[in-house]
Amino acid sequence: MKNEKYEKIVQKHRPTEHRVNNSLIAFLVGGSVGALGEVLIQVFCMCFHVSRTEASVFMIITLIFFAALFTALGFFDKWVTFGKCGLLIPITGFAHSMMSASLEYKREGLVTGIGTNAFKLAGTVIVYGVVSAWIFGIIRLLIGGGLV
């Protein structure tokens, strides 16, 4: 009986420590990805003499490129199990989900495998993004009268 009580107390206290650890890692990893994005924008601005808008497009493409490449090479999955939301919430998570879905179904063929399943995980983001953007856009048009 005492052992059981002890076990319960241990069980109660164990996950919270993990949670603190997890969120700390997510903060640091996610923050580094964000800082890397800003650094890339400034580097592109300086090296190629482009505007900030173009540089941000280059930055997003670069991040997607490396996320897809590292997923294909196989070690991005290990990073995700370590960094968790720090890597899933930035745009790298979007590329990672598309890449891993299409890799997983590769053996089922080009059309029925890759083509059908590429958006299996990433599709939810696009569906809810478009639906919510449309609804909020209409609300904005009705209330604020469009872009100021």
Partner: protein, 117 residues
């Protein structure tokens, strides 16, 4: 230089919130990214996310919330010339680069590399 620090803080904070939701509820990462996209487009209704992007810079463009922000922003920019129809026509104007890049890279990398697990 200060923008890099702000980027670190903002992107880290977004990921921290996501991690807290993931750990304390039964939602999967798919749910959380969907919620964040909806939240990002909601923040743009009153130009809040625009202000964040101006202050923070690149750090605000990296998280998935900026995806929703760019969807609604492209649509609203098109409504100036097209009226309410522009909301549908211009929806993907700004995000097209990210989605196209993800599709192209993932397709060709899938052809080149073998799945390993």
């Amino acid at each position: 230089m200060i923008k890099i620090f702000y980027s670190f803080l903002f992107c880290g904070a977004v990921c921290l919130i996501a991690q807290l939701i993931l750990d304390n509820t039964k939602l999967t990462p798919g749910h959380i990214t969907s919620i964040f996209v909806v939240f990002g487009s909601f923040l743009d209704v009153f130009n809040i996310y625009d202000m964040i992007v101006e202050v923070v810079g690149g750090g605000a463009m990296v998280p998935i919330t900026s995806f929703g922000h760019q969807l609604i922003h492209g649509g609203l920019a098109k409504t100036v010339s097209m009226g309410p129809l522009g909301m549908i026509m211009g929806m993907f104007d700004l995000t097209a680069s990210g989605i196209s890049a993800a599709i192209i890279f993932s397709f060709f990398f899938t052809l080149i590399f073998k799945p390993r697990n």
